[in-house]
Amino acid sequence: MNFSLYDFTSFNQWIDKFLNDNLPAFWAVAAEMVIIGVAILLFYALVGLFLVYAERKVCAFMQNRVGPNRVGPFGFFQTIADFIKLMLKELIYIKNADQLLFNLAPFIVIIASFMAIAAIPFAKGLHAIDFDIGILYVIAVSSLGVVGILLAGWSSNNKYSLIGAMRSGAQIVSYELSVGLSLVTIIILAGTMQFSEIVEGQRNGWFIFTGHIPAFIAFIVFLIASTAETNRGPFDLAEAESELTAGFHTEYSGIKFAFFFLAEYMNMFIVASIAATVFLGGWMPFHVGSWAGFNQVMDYIPPFVWYIGKTFFVIWIMMWFKWTFPRLRIDQLLTLEWKYLLPINLVNILIMAFIVLMGWHF
């Protein structure tokens, strides 16, 4: 076995070979699926818990507060304590709610985010599945979440929830366009939709640098649109605490609420991962043209660390947004998308196509 922090391919092949040597082919595949599933589930839960903690700390720093500091060192286990509390909490039975849809909704939301995480490359050779249409798959899967939100709002039999769900529907359907189109800009530059190849294409410079101004514009648009798509502030109209109490999840309690909560943070992680992978080079280290020594030092940092660092940088930007800006109104939100972001995006794609055709990119 040849385990390396820099390339997981041989490690994966070793596991594959080990299972195939000891099990029939069908059971080997089944075992692999279970291993991957459990690994992703663990990762999902850990990242979710950590993000909730991180958000609390970041928000506390922005607001002159200390943040959680009682449970464990620096309050690190606060979210775990909270999660235990949420699991033990009573699930309130809503009398006039549509029980089937009401119970189904949180699962749809969480499954959508769970599926999206499968396609993301965490390091070289460390991804569950490497589609040749990876980006398309992620966009398609992450937009399933809105179905869960709409169901939650509709089945709760609560007017606040319904307003929140309708807002969310309008918002996600609109901003999906901008997310997709800003990624198309980069697809034109990269010439592929496969995540591993996109990352590989950034070996000599991240797309945000090599793609001239259009790539930068696409990054900004993606950041705005994906913040809106994940229902986070300043676009958190679906929850809009001061208007709709808690929006679509007003009636949920206990673990079902925790699912929505976790899914929100994981969606944030997923869009940040995509931003990091597509614009900031994924797990590729930071290289500067001819500085051989500098590049070598950068290469020593494992790819996984690069990936996590970039992702959390994007997440931090999104948290910064949330805790600084007031909330938009629904008509302004749609105006921003349809009158500003969409035209900018379309022009941006044209410019990018032109640049790629002329070979002006680096």
Binding site: Q63, K159, A240, E243, L328
Partner: protein
């Protein structure tokens, strides 16, 4: 056991639906209940239902002596408690024709203005929160704490002070009072810039508040909208200017007047009033004359039979106290004209045709305190 109660629905167009905002709702600032008729997201009309925190303060006043009444007025608009106290004290003093020492007048004016700043700070917090900017809340509270510390140092309480008594003050100010107030003003002049950077100058905030929730001057007058909300519509209603009390006739300050009458204008009124209040305090703080902190008063105060009215400028508008005395030690009838009640009455008029989000912002800009509405 599934029984659906069919409530009769009257005079409602088919496509309208109602939601109850409150009594438990994050942005009604207390236990106000607004029955909002909506068409999609658009507010068609709304009906405020008050009374959830009605404590019968006016009736209780009839059983209490005048010094006791002061403690009840704290509980009306608890964010401008000093100013409420001031109204009752002035009423009693004017009725008894007591000459209050100059020192008392100066201290009362300074503390009223400090209270106004503290109240506007809390308004800024909650307005930011209504807009969805949660960080504002902590910035505002952080600075309000400094004022409360000054209050606590001088007379021990932070929210419900009851510091003024008929004829003077409960006790003298703390020796460090002047120093601390000056330090606070120096501090807050810097910090108020943060407020502007965080919220006032924000594009989203300006987009959401400019041109939204328009109240004309005529409507402001006919609804009796006073205070910063009324002045935003150009209704010159500052009691401090028109009927000066305390030492407001001796200080140089501007009545902040607006023209546009929208949410943003109401916002700017309060921001500018904080600057004006600091100016007033700066003019007075070094000139507090020496002397007694209270005039000589009788042990039992009995107002001569008759009707009395006293108005002061509370931080949310004109607070009027109307009192009928039959010569006893308790009033025969006490009536408070609370600014929030009148301001709330304009809410339906202002917010017809706006979105739910704007309704919340308008509510924030009117800055109602529910215990003052219900009393």
């Amino acid at each position: 056991m599934k029984e659906v109660i069919n409530l009769p629905v009257k005079n409602v167009e088919e496509e309208e639906y109602h939601i109850n905002m409150g009594p438990q709702h994050p942005s009604t600032h207390g236990v106000l209940r607004l029955v909002v008729s909506l068409q999609g997201e658009i507010v068609k009309s709304l009906k405020p239902h008050c009374g959830y925190i009605h404590r019968g303060i006016e009736k209780m006043c009839e059983k209490d002596t005048y010094p006791q009444i002061i403690h009840l007025t704290d509980r009306m608009d608890y964010l401008s408690a000093h100013i409420n106290n001031h109204a009752v004290c002035l009423l009693v003093e004017n009725a008894l024709e007591v000459e209050v020492p100059e020192r008392v007048k100066y201290i009362r004016t300074i503390i009223d203005e400090l209270n106004r700043i503290a109240s506007h700070q809390l308004w800024w917090c909650s307005f930011g929160m209504d807009m969805g900017g949660l960080t504002c809340y902590f910035y505002g509270l952080r600075d309000r704490e400094k004022i409360l510390d000054i209050f606590e140092e001088s007379f021990g309480s932070r929210l419900l002070h009851s510091y003024y008594t008929p004829g003077g003050l409960m006790m003298d100010i703390h020796p460090d009072f002047q120093k601390n107030v000056k330090a606070f003003i120096k501090y807050f002049r810097k910090k108020i810039k943060d407020y502007d950077e965080l919220l006032t100058g924000n594009v989203i905030m300006q987009l959401r508040s400019k041109g939204v929730g328009y109240l004309s001057k005529e409507d402001a007058i006919s609804y009796g909208v006073t205070g910063p909300s009324g002045r935003a519509s150009g209704f010159s209603c500052d009691v401090r200017k028109h009927h000066p009390y305390g030492v407001y006739d001796k200080v140089d300050f501007n009545e902040i007047l607006g023209t546009k009458g929208d949410t943003f204008e109401r916002y700017m009124m309060r921001m500018n009033e904080m600057h004006e209040s600091m100016r007033i305090i700066e003019q007075l703080i070094d000139n507090i004359p020496a002397g007694d902190y209270t005039a000589k008063m009788k042990a039992v105060l009995k107002l001569p039979a008759g009707e009395y009215y006293q108005r002061v400028e509370a931080s949310r508008g004109e607070l009027g106290v109307y009192c009928i005395s039959d010569g006893n030690k308790t009033p025969y009838r006490m009536k408070f004209r609370s600014p929030n009640f009148s301001n709330l009455s304009a809410l339906d008029h202002i917010s017809r045709g706006v979105k739910i989000a704007d309704l919340v912002a308008i509510g924030g800009s009117l800055d109602y305190v529910i215990p003052d509405i219900d009393r």
